[in-house]
């Protein structure tokens, strides 16, 4: 036999692919110029982008940062030989105001610290695998710390409100041992209400007289700018998620009264525009409440924004619940889990995972909706832009202010959207 084989015994060395299919050329060939039609669309689109940038870039890069008024801006632009350009002096002059509103200058550190601590408090929730488990305690404390830092006053007030939970717990333990669960539940809630309504504030002021630990008070009227949007947005987001879960579960409940209340609430709130609710908060409540009542306007707005967002959240989560196969519920039942165990261990983790994109877009929507408060006279960034234009130095400025505000909002909304994508990847269990 000879050594001649009729089949190739060694592999051919790999050839490099043709130049027209790899690298930048290949990419362009495939994605941009794959047919005559696509080539034409590409060329037209590139032309449009070019025209846009040609107008926009010289406008953005205009040497007006140091101007002190619109007139000065125009002189600078003319001196630089441009036809027109942005007047960035207004941002240099007012950016602190757009961020902090009328918050007292000497207390600027407080919103900054609150903002940084917000991330510390969120870390155990958002990035649980990278943070020490004990940090979750700080997350629990933060809702009491935040109002104290922002509004000031005695530290004993939030501490006494926290003490209410301890009192509630011990009352439950004591009555439970003596009289059983149902009386314990009622008794502990009563104790909590009595404590908060009648005892907490006198006790707090009594302790404060002995050991005064206070921050200078800041009135809600001084809140403004991005800080106001963030305060309303963050509080409403944090409360609306649990409230939305409860409403979604209530809507599916077998107890008719609970179900009807939840359905009624959700459908009523979803059937009314947010701006109507804000007008109720700002004007109607004023008429119903007796004269001289000082029911904080920001608290009113936060309550309305929270209720509004909770109704939408409930429907998003109901979508997640409906998407779960029936077998999951039956599996939980067959394991002998009770209602809350099966919700906590089986149903909610899956339903919430399905709802993440919807939940996050609700959050983003809510955060952007906070700008509607400018219509009821609160000076959020949009409201402030109007007030800034009423300064004789800056009348007539429009795009620079809106552009800056848009950038601020974009940073927050884009980060939220990126986080949701990260979370979806992390929780992905299919291959």
């Amino acid at each position: 036999m000879s050594d001649v084989s009729f089949v190739r015994t060694e592999m051919q060395p790999e050839k490099t692919p043709p130049a027209s299919t790899v690298g930048i050329i290949g990419w362009a060939h495939h994605r941009l110029f794959s047919s005559y039609l696509n080539s034409a669309i590409t060329v037209i689109a590139l032309y449009l982008i070019f025209m846009l940038l040609k107008g926009l870039i010289p406008w953005i890069f205009s040497p007006t940062w140091s101007a002190a008024s619109l007139g000065e801006c125009r002189e600078m632009i003319a001196a630089a030989g441009h036809e027109e350009g942005a007047c960035w002096g207004v941002i240099r002059d007012r950016w602190i105001q757009i961020i902090f509103g009328f918050y007292p200058v000497e207390y600027y550190w407080r919103p900054i610290v609150t903002f940084l601590l917000l991330f510390v408090a969120l870390a155990p929730v958002l990035f649980s695998e990278y943070t020490p488990p004990k940090l979750i305690w700080f997350t629990g404390i933060f809702p009491f710390l935040m109002p104290w830092l922002l509004w000031g006053g005695s530290i004993w007030t939030p501490l006494m409100i926290m003490a209410g939970f301890a009192i509630c717990y011990f009352a439950f333990k004591a009555i439970d041992a003596a009289a059983g669960t149902i009386p314990a539940l009622i008794g502990s809630v009563l104790a909590l209400i009595v404590w908060w309504l009648f005892l907490a504030s006198p006790v707090a002021s009594a302790i404060n007289n002995i050991i005064p630990i206070e921050l200078g008070g800041v009135e809600s009227r001084n809140f403004g700018g991005l800080m106001l949007s963030l305060t309303i947005g963050v509080v409403a987001i944090a409360i609306s998620l649990p409230l939305g879960i409860v409403l979604a579960l209530g809507r599916q409940s077998h107890l008719p009264i609970v179900r009807m209340m939840c359905v009624g609430f959700i459908e009523f709130i979803r059937g009314v525009p947010l701006i109507t609710l804000l007008f109720v908060a700002s004007t109607l409540l004023n008429i119903f409440l007796p004269p001289g009542t000082n029911f904080d306007i920001i608290l009113r707005v936060i309550i309305m924004a929270t209720l509004f967002s909770a109704a939408y959240m409930a429907e998003v989560i109901r979508g997640g619940l409906a998407a779960l196969p029936k077998g999951q519920y039956e599996g939980a039942d067959s394991l002998g889990l009770n209602y809350w165990q099966s919700q906590r261990l089986i149903i909610m983790p899956q339903a919430l995972k399905i709802s993440i994109p919807g939940i996050v877009s609700s959050f983003i929507g809510l955060f952007k909706d906070t700008t509607l408060v400018s219509i009821i006279g609160l000076l959020d960034p949009i409201g402030l832009s109007n007030a800034i234009r009423a300064d004789t130095a800056w009348t007539g400025i429009v795009w620079e202010l809106y552009g800056f505000i848009a950038l601020l909002f974009w940073v927050f909304c884009f980060s939220m959207s990126r986080y949701s994508m990260y979370l979806e990847r992390k929780l992905k269990t299919t291959n």
């Binding site: 309504l197 009227r221 004023n286 936060i302 000076l379 007539g396 429009v398």
Partner: protein, 339 residues
């Protein structure tokens, strides 16, 4: 937790209702702060500066009242109100007085139950047109497109005027003054109409103000002034006579430069003496001390000084005194005597 706060707030509100409110003057003194409603931003009349300090012609009235009542021009909570929230804010007691370019009309006075305590600026609706339109009178505006803010009295005035002169127009509805400015400059409308003071302020911000003219016709009466709630006449008197003190001060030649000297001892003019409390007991009648008017005038000067500083001819707004000159100079600004 928020719900609990809400209910506790309601409960507290119920308790507070029991203690019926005394007069606004006593409330303000007890609170140590005047809640003054201003606009969210009208050029020359009210706007926060870069440090968050409110400035403007209407703000000056608020500060004068605070100085007269509380002795401190900064003892004020400025409550920004929009055109939609201003009246409820005043009616509900959220603010003690409103100084926000508000036109004194019959229905606001009678039906909405407010008391206008006076007029601090006589305005009227005017027309702004580009010079290139070649129009010199509003009667030549037949068929023009007009930028107009919706839901305001200016809209109704415009319809009345064009109907009375048997002309037609095409409205371009807009929401805010900033939008109007953009639309007008972009040529979306031939004419921009609003209060003449607003037109002057808007024109001053144009790149080429000289290319635009204000037509001579003023088609409506817009007396702007501070207002308070019906039914508390003592408080109404405090605000009314604070404004009158500013006006009288200009008429009598009292200004921020000479007031310290005039208030130190009684001089030759008995009316100045009575106003500044060096003679008589006018302050006591008002429920204030003798120096109230001195403090009010010392804040920003008399009416004329406030006008010149905020909206006068040397400011970018550049309004002439016109109707708002003292009656002795042919204007309408007139204060009843201090006697």
């Amino acid at each position: 937790m928020k719900k609990t706060v809400f209910f506790s707030a309601l409960t507290l509100a119920g308790l507070a209702a029991g203690a019926a409110t005394a007069g606004t003057l006593d409330d303000v003194k007890a609170r140590g702060k005047l809640n003054c409603g201003v606009s969210t931003g009208v050029i020359g009349f009210a706007a926060p500066d870069a440090n968050g300090v409110w400035q403007g012609f209407d703000v000056g009235v608020c500060r004068a009242v605070a100085a007269a009542v509380l002795g401190d021009q900064n003892a004020i909570e400025f409550v920004p109100t929009t055109g939609k929230t201003r009246f409820t804010a005043l009616a509900s007691g959220e603010i003690d007085m409103l100084a926000r370019n508000t036109t004194w009309t019959y229905s606001r006075d009678v039906d909405l139950k407010f008391t206008f305590v006076g007029v601090n600026y006589y305005d009227g609706q005017g027309f702004l047109v580009p010079k290139s339109l070649g129009v010199s009178s509003a009667t030549e505006l037949d068929g023009a497109t007009v930028c107009i803010q919706t839901g305001t009295t200016t809209e109704l005035n415009l319809a009345d005027y064009f109907r009375a002169n048997n002309m037609s127009y095409e409205p371009v509805p807009i929401e805010t003054n900033a939008e109007a400015q953009q639309q007008f400059l972009a040529g979306a409308c031939d004419v921009f109409t609003t209060d003449a003071s607003g037109l002057a302020a808007t024109r001053s911000a144009f790149e080429k103000p000289g290319d635009y003219v204000l037509l001579p016709e003023i088609i409506s009466k817009e007396p702007l002034g501070p207002l308070v709630r019906h039914g508390d006449d003592q408080w109404g008197d405090v605000v009314r006579w604070t404004l009158n003190a500013l006006i009288s001060a200009e008429e009598l030649g009292v200004n921020s430069a000479n007031i310290a000297e005039l208030a130190a001892a009684a001089g030759n003019n008995p009316e100045i003496n009575r106003m500044l409390g060096t003679e008589g007991n006018l302050g006591e009648m008002l429920g204030l001390d003798a120096d109230w008017a001195v403090r009010a005038i010392s804040v920003g000067g008399n009416y004329g000084e406030l006008f010149e500083k905020n909206i006068g001819e040397n400011t970018p707004v550049g309004l002439a005194r016109g109707l708002n000159a003292q009656w002795t100079n042919g204007g309408l600004i007139y204060s009843p005597p201090f006697r």
